[in-house]
Symmetry: C2
């Protein structure tokens, strides 16, 4: 059955007038779903990412259960680390062998060809386009260059990201050579996702918020702009989500994406003003709201919907990934609320 | 010897015209100092906090070494947890027994009397006032109520603080009862520090940035305001430092403190505009700058000094605590730069 709203999400991304905001949620294929945990009970995270049939299967789970208006490929923002020569393990946070902490290590990174190494991602996308059969559009994604670079330098997550920021202050030229390599690989990876069938792509700049405006402009934004420009030629909408970036709104306004993701910290109408107006925004219910009673979920979701009314467009989402212990009933109340919303 | 600038810091906090910005740095008595590590090699963190002579000794170390313009008592934002009935261990992050996750546990928290239980803090202050002998004023501190509450509910640090935010959404009345108890204890603890001789106090709202403006206003700011109001009567300057609060500037502007701390994310001149102007600001060099070469330290410190020129007043500081691996030579270059600064 073709969903009559199957292109609601894409039309919203393009700034067209729509009946209601579409909804999907970050990490919608994840641990809060019993059917996902069931799959994970017999296969580890990395194998799941690398097995196209399984990645496609878990991608579809939240579409089948909740009828979200978009599917997002099950994958990881760190899959690109491997073609760049990094061994990576998840325990459960990512850990990389031989992080790129100095110029010599950075210059030893090979020029990656994701088209060969990441064939499993593009294969999962092809399977998904067939199996979704028009029920919902498919979003591809990857990390923004700075965010992937932060992992490659730190060797994993970090509290202060002092190693990557220390590199920016002590050897900015080497840092730029690293970001150049990452940007080329990232661009290829996104274009290959689009060629395989991704109908929109999201760039996750999860660590952008660690940077002040000067470092952000020099080491993140300039590379983001190159990618949004290259993607623009495909006609596929690009969503840019910089987490914790309330202090960077002047800069984010120039990112060149079609849609800007906003985390739960800033109400959408305030973010729109800070961005200078005229953006399609994605977000931004606090994921913790879903631990409250159903009435509170409806009330808070309503507040987010209302704060999105004056925008050029609003893609409803959480303001961060859904948390593993989120009750299913709360997600049901949320989807119901958004689908019933009638902008006055 | 009495430092001729001994009241530079206090005069700046009061908004008086001064020769140059005073400098101190958050966690200035800490692991980056070999003489601190020497003390810690024979005594654990908790014992150090609880032994007035030792707490005073490490408080003085950075004053003796660098000639900072203010001393800050060596203590911990969690010392108040104990008189409130929580057992606490550091491994090395704080871990609390029986966190306050529901109404029953919250209502079982006794009304704390820090004046009895935390005598060691006030004793350290008395020793310090004698030993500082006018070389530098002494800052006392504690956590803002929400930040202490976040630890009491989560039972330690947390990535998403979903338990405390879940409590706000599911049982706001119980959350307020918890924050009332904390606020009373916090106020008493700060007043006792002032009576013992603290010449300024800082409220650390380290987790404020996890909240959007509605939750922040309801569960943090209203209690902060009560405390700044109570402290105002003592005549001692109050510094309020909400970390990662760029999205909360409209609200922070009403906090009632004499000085507002700004983290490294937002240039001081931008923060001043966002706050509506007319504040004495404290901050905000990125602590990671201190991993760069001395020239870069001087350049970046100069940029912070310049961004602070148009303010009502500027207390130079880092934008977050100094990191344990910071080289001493970088701190020397920093102090030298600030002390040599001549506002045009």
């Amino acid at each position: 059955m073709i969903n009559p709203d199957h292109d609601l999400f894409l039309r919203t991304c393009r700034g067209e007038t729509v009946e209601r905001p579409p909804i999907w949620v970050m990490r919608q294929a994840g641990r809060y779903l019993p059917e996902y945990r069931e799959v994970r009970s017999s296969v580890d995270f990395v194998t799941l990412c690398r097995t196209p049939e399984l990645a496609a299967k878990v991608t579809l789970q939240p579409i089948d259960r909740f009828g979200f208006d978009a599917a997002i490929l099950f994958s990881d923002i760190l899959v690109l680390a491997e073609p760049m020569g990094f061994e990576i393990a998840f325990n459960p946070g990512p850990q990389l062998d031989e992080p790129a902490r100095d110029a010599a290590r950075i210059d030893a990174i090979p020029d990656a060809d994701p088209r060969e190494a990441l064939g499993y991602v593009y294969e999962a996308i092809k399977i998904l386009r067939r199996e979704l059969a028009g029920r919902a559009p498919l979003i591809g994604f990857t990390a923004a260059p700075f965010t992937l670079g932060a992992y490659l330098v730190e060797g994993g997550g970090s509290k202060n990201f002092d190693k990557v920021k220390g590199l920016f202050y002590s050897d900015p030229a080497a840092a730029h050579r690293l970001l150049e390599k990452i940007t080329r690989a990232t661009q290829t990876h996104l274009l290959a996702q689009v060629e395989a069938g991704a109908q929109a792509v999201q760039l996750f700049d999860s660590w952008a918020g660690l940077l002040g405006p000067d470092l952000y402009t020099e080491f993140s934004l300039r590379y983001v702009k190159r990618i949004t420009k290259a993607l623009r030629e495909t006609g596929v909408p690009v969503i840019y989500f910089a987490l914790n970036a309330a202090h960077l709104m002047d800069e984010v306004a120039t990112c060149g994406a079609d849609v800007v993701g906003v985390d739960w910290r800033t109400p959408l109408d305030r973010a729109d003003v800070q961005l200078g107006g005229g953006f399609v925004l994605q977000g931004n219910l606090d994921p913790c709201v879903l631990f409250g009673p159903a009435d509170e979920v409806r009330r808070q979701a309503g507040a987010v919907l209302d704060s999105g009314r004056g925008l050029k467009g609003h893609v409803f989402n959480l303001g961060h990934g859904i948390l593993p212990k989120t009750p299913i009933s709360a997600v049901e109340a949320l989807v119901e609320t958004v689908k019933a919303y009638k902008p006055a």
